[in-house]
C-alpha cells in the first residue's frame, strides 16, 4: 500500500530525512519510534503532502502510484489520512460542518453524490459514540478550547468518519491520560482491518500496549535504523535509544 524508497527531504533548506525506506501492506499496523528531532513528524507530513517539505531524492509510492506531485487534498481523496500532533483550532467552523465538507469534497472527487443529511447524521452518531464523544461537542468550533484529550479524540473521530485506507497517526498519545488513551487506542483498533493500514508515530511504548503493532521501526537522524516486531518497542522502553546509536556507529 505504501512504499517509501530512499526518501530525502528538506524543510527551509535543512535536511531532515536522509534516506528513509519503509514498506506498509494492507492490514498491517506499523509503529515508528525515535527520539525528538529524528524526523518522525516530518515523515508523517511528507506522506500527507505538506507543501513546506521538499522531497529532494527518493520515491513515495501509494497504491503503486508515485504521489510526490499530488496535493494534500488529492492524497486525502485517495485515502490517506494524518492525525495531527497539534490539531489546529478553527474558530467559527463547527466540527459537524467541517466533517460534512471533508466527506463531501472527497465524494465529489470520486464522482459520488453528496452524502444525505440523514446518512451523515447516522454515521456521526455511530462514530461519536464509539469514541465516547458527547454530541454537544460536535456543534462546537473545531478544536477551539478543546482539551488535549478532546483534540486527539476528535482526530480519531475524523479518521473514523473519513474511513481512509492509510492512517498516519502522529503522536496521538501525547497529552492523553490513561483513560483517554484507552478510548483513542480502542477507536484505532476498531478502525484497523484487513483493507487498511495504520502507521503510528510515538515516543512511548505505552500506546503500543493498546495499539498492537505488527512492525516497529526506529528512526534516528533521518533514517530508519532498525526494524523489528513489538519486542523492539519493549527493548526501547527498557534501554532507551542510546544502544541503537552505538550499534549504528
Amino acid at each position: 500500500m505504501l512504499e517509501i524508497n530512499n526518501l530525502h527531504c528538506k524543510i527551509e533548506g535543512r535536511s531532515i530525512l536522509k534516506g528513509v525506506n519503509l514498506k506498509v501492506k494492507k492490514g498491517e499496523i506499523h509503529a515508528i519510534m525515535g527520539p525528538n528531532g529524528s524526523g518522525k513528524s516530518t515523515l508523517a507530513n511528507v506522506i500527507s503532502g505538506h507543501e513546506d517539505y521538499e522531497v529532494t531524492k527518493g520515491n513515495l509510492y501509494y497504491k503503486t502510484n508515485e504521489i510526490n506531485e499530488l496535493s494534500a487534498s488529492e492524497r486525502a481523496h485517495d485515502g490517506i489520512f494524518m492525525s495531527f500532533q497539534y490539531p489546529v483550532e478553527i474558530p467559527g467552523l463547527t466540527v459537524t460542518n467541517f466533517i460534512k465538507a471533508a466527506i463531501n469534497e472527497s465524494r465529489k472527487a470520486r464522482g459520488l453524490d453528496e452524502m444525505s443529511s440523514r446518512e451523515m447524521l447516522k454515521k456521526i452518531r455511530e462514530k461519536s459514540s464509539l469514541l465516547d464523544i458527547d454530541t454537544k461537542f460536535l456543534s462546537r468550533s473545531l478544536n477551539e478550547g478543546f482539551s488535549g484529550g478532546e483534540k486527539k479524540r476528535n482526530e480519531i473521530f475524523q479518521m473514523a468518519m473519513l474511513e481512509p485506507e492509510l492512517a498516519v497517526l502522529d503522536e496521538t498519545d501525547s497529552g492523553l491520560d490513561i483513560d483517554a488513551l484507552k478510548i483513542v487506542a480502542n477507536g484505532v483498533m476498531k478502525f484497523s482491518n484487513d483493507d487498511n493500514a495504520v502507521v503510528v508515530i510515538t515516543h512511548y511504548q505505552r500506546l503500543l500496549d493498546y495499539i498492537v503493532p505488527d512492525f516497529v521501526h526506529v528512526i534516528l537522524d533521518g533514517k530508519v535504523i532498525k526494524s523489528g516486531d513489538k519486542s523492539l518497542a519493549k527493548k526501547i522502553e527498557d534501554k532507551g535509544y542510546d544502544w541503537l546509536k552505538k550499534e549504528k556507529k
Binding site: S73, R75, P91, F98, A102, L142, L162
Partner: protein, 438 residues
C-alpha cells in the same frame, strides 16, 4: 461646470416640484448653503483621509428621478427576502413603486417620506424628528438634506412590532446612463416598540450610479431595532450611506453592514446616546476583490451612564481592494460605567490589498471599561494544510476559513432567511459550493 456647481444650480429646478411652504424646506435651504460652503469632503479632511471621492464626483450625473421605469416583478424578485413579504418599500431610479411595494397604515406607518411630508396628520412627527440627529458638519448629509424628497417613512407606535422584517429596496435600472440618487429615510420607534429592517441598493445594469443616502433612526425608551444593510451592488455602483441613530434610555439598536459589492462604499454610522442603560451594536463584514473600496467610519457617542456599545468589524481583502475602518468612541464625563468594546480584524490575501484601520477613543469619564483592538493578518497556513489534509481543496479550504473568520458577525443575524442569504452570497463570492450550506 463641475458637479458641485451643477448640484447647486439644479436646486432651483428641484424646488419647482416640492412644497416650498412646508417647514422642512427651511432645512433644505439651510443644508444647501452648508453644502455650498463645505463642498465635497477631500482627503485633507481627517475623516476622509483614506477615501477619495474624486473618481466619482468628477463625472456628471442625472439628478432628478425620472418617471417610473418599466421593471417587472420577475426582474427583481430574487432580491426580495421571501416569496411573500409583509412590508416592502421599493424605489426604482429614486421613485417609489407602489406596484412592487407593500405599505401599511394599520396600527403603524410603513410608507414613503413624500406622503408623510405632504399629509398634515404627519406634520407633528416630521417637525419633531426630521433632521434632528444629522450633524451639520457632514457635507454629504447636508447635500442629501437639501434634496430631501423621497425615501422610507417608518413609524412604529408604543408597544408595537411589525410581524415581519421591513425591506427597503432601491433599484437602479440604467434608464439614465449615470444617475445620482439621494434617498432619505426617517424611522421613528416609540417606547417598547420593535422592528427589523433590511436595506439594499441594487443596480440592474452596469451603468454609473451613486447613492448618497441618509437614514435617521429615533429609538425611544426600551425600543429595539435590528437594522441590516446588504451592500452587494455591481462594480459600477457607489454608495455613501449616512446613518444617524438617536437612542433613549433602555433602548437597544444593532446595525449589521455586509459590504460585499460596489465600487466605492462609505458608511458613516453614528450612534448618539440620550439616556442611560442603552445598548448599541455595530457589526460589519467586508469581503472585497478587484479594486473595490469600502470605508467604515463609525462613531458611538456615550453621553449617559451605564450604557454599552459593541463594535465588531471583520474584513477580507483580495486583489487590489482597499478597506478603511475608522472607529470613534467618545465617552463624556457624565457617561460613567460605560462599557465600550471595539474590534477590527482583517485578512489580506494579496500583496496589493490594503487596510487602513484606526481606532479613536476619546474618554472623559474615569469609571469606564473601554477596549479596542485591531489585527491584520493572512489566512493561517497550518489551518489550510489541516483542511487540505482532510480532502478539502485549496479554494474550499480558504472559503471555510474565511467563513469561520466571519462567523461571529453572521451568527448575530437574527432573521434566518437573511442569514442563509448572506451565507450564500459569501459562498458565491468565494466561488465555492461546499458540502454544507455556508
Amino acid at each position: 461646470m463641475d458637479f458641485k456647481e451643477k448640484l447647486l444650480d439644479s436646486h432651483l429646478a428641484f424646488e419647482q416640484d416640492v412644497d416650498l411652504l412646508h417647514p422642512i424646506h427651511d432645512y433644505r435651504k439651510k443644508a444647501l448653503k452648508r453644502f455650498e460652503s463645505d463642498g465635497f469632503p477631500t482627503k485633507s479632511d481627517e475623516l476622509w483621509k483614506y477615501t477619495s471621492l474624486a473618481s466619482i464626483i468628477q463625472k456628471d450625473y442625472h439628478l432628478s428621478p425620472t418617471s417610473e421605469s418599466n421593471i417587472e416583478l420577475k426582474d427583481v424578485k430574487k432580491y426580495f427576502l421571501n416569496d411573500i413579504d409583509s412590508f416592502k418599500l421599493v424605489f426604482v431610479d429614486g421613485i417609489f413603486s407602489p406596484f412592487l411595494s407593500k405599505t401599511t397604515h394599520d396600527g403603524m406607518d410603513i410608507c414613503v417620506l413624500s406622503a408623510a411630508i405632504s399629509k398634515s396628520k404627519y406634520k407633528k412627527t416630521i417637525k419633531k424628528y426630521f433632521n434632528k440627529v444629522v450633524p451639520e458638519n457632514e457635507s454629504l448629509s447636508s447635500l442629501n438634506t437639501s434634496y430631501t424628497r423621497e425615501g422610507a417613512y417608518i413609524f412604529i407606535p408604543k408597544n408595537m412590532e411589525p410581524e415581519d422584517p421591513i425591506q427597503i429596496l432601491h433599484f437602479s435600472t440604467g434608464a439614465q446612463k449615470s444617475i445620482w440618487l439621494q434617498p432619505r429615510n426617517l424611522i421613528v420607534m416609540e417606547a417598547n416598540s420593535n422592528v427589523q429592517i433590511i436595506e439594499r441598493h441594487q443596480s440592474l445594469s452596469d451603468h454609473k450610479v451613486v447613492t448618497n443616502s441618509v437614514t435617521e433612526i429615533y429609538a425611544d425608551s426600551n425600543s429595539h431595532v435590528d437594522y441590516y444593510k446588504i451592500q452587494n451592488d455591481l462594480l459600477t455602483s457607489s454608495l455613501i450611506d449616512n446613518t444617524f441613530i438617536s437612542q433613549e434610555k433602555d433602548s437597544n439598536v444593532s446595525v449589521h453592514t455586509f459590504s460585499l459589492g460596489g465600487q466605492l462604499t462609505r458608511n458613516n454610522l453614528r450612534f448618539y446616546h440620550k439616556g442611560s442603560n442603552i445598548s448599541s451594536t455595530l457589526k460589519g463584514l467586508t469581503i472585497l476583490e478587484a479594486k473595490q473600496h469600502v470605508d467604515h467610519n463609525t462613531l458611538v457617542h456615550h453621553a449617559k451612564p451605564n450604557c454599552e456599545s459593541h463594535q465588531d468589524y471583520k474584513g477580507i481583502f483580495s486583489d487590489s481592494s482597499v478597506g478603511v475602518f475608522n472607529g470613534r468612541i467618545i465617552v463624556e464625563r457624565e457617561a460613567q460605567k460605560t462599557n465600550a468594546f471595539q474590534q477590527n480584524n482583517n485578512i489580506l490575501t494579496t500583496d496589493k490589498s490594503k487596510i487602513n484601520t484606526k481606532p479613536q477613543l476619546e474618554i472623559f469619564a474615569d469609571d469606564v471599561k473601554c477596549s479596542h483592538g485591531c489585527t491584520i493578518g493572512q489566512l493561517d497556513k497550518q489551518a489550510l494544510f489541516y483542511l487540505n489534509s482532510r480532502g478539502i481543496p485549496e479554494k474550499e479550504a480558504r472559503a471555510l476559513l474565511t467563513y469561520g473568520f466571519a462567523n461571529n458577525v453572521l451568527e448575530s443575524v437574527k432573521i434566518p432567511n437573511l442569514n442563509k442569504r448572506i451565507k450564500k452570497l459569501i459562498a458565491y463570492k468565494l466561488g465555492v459550493n461546499l458540502g454544507f450550506d455556508l
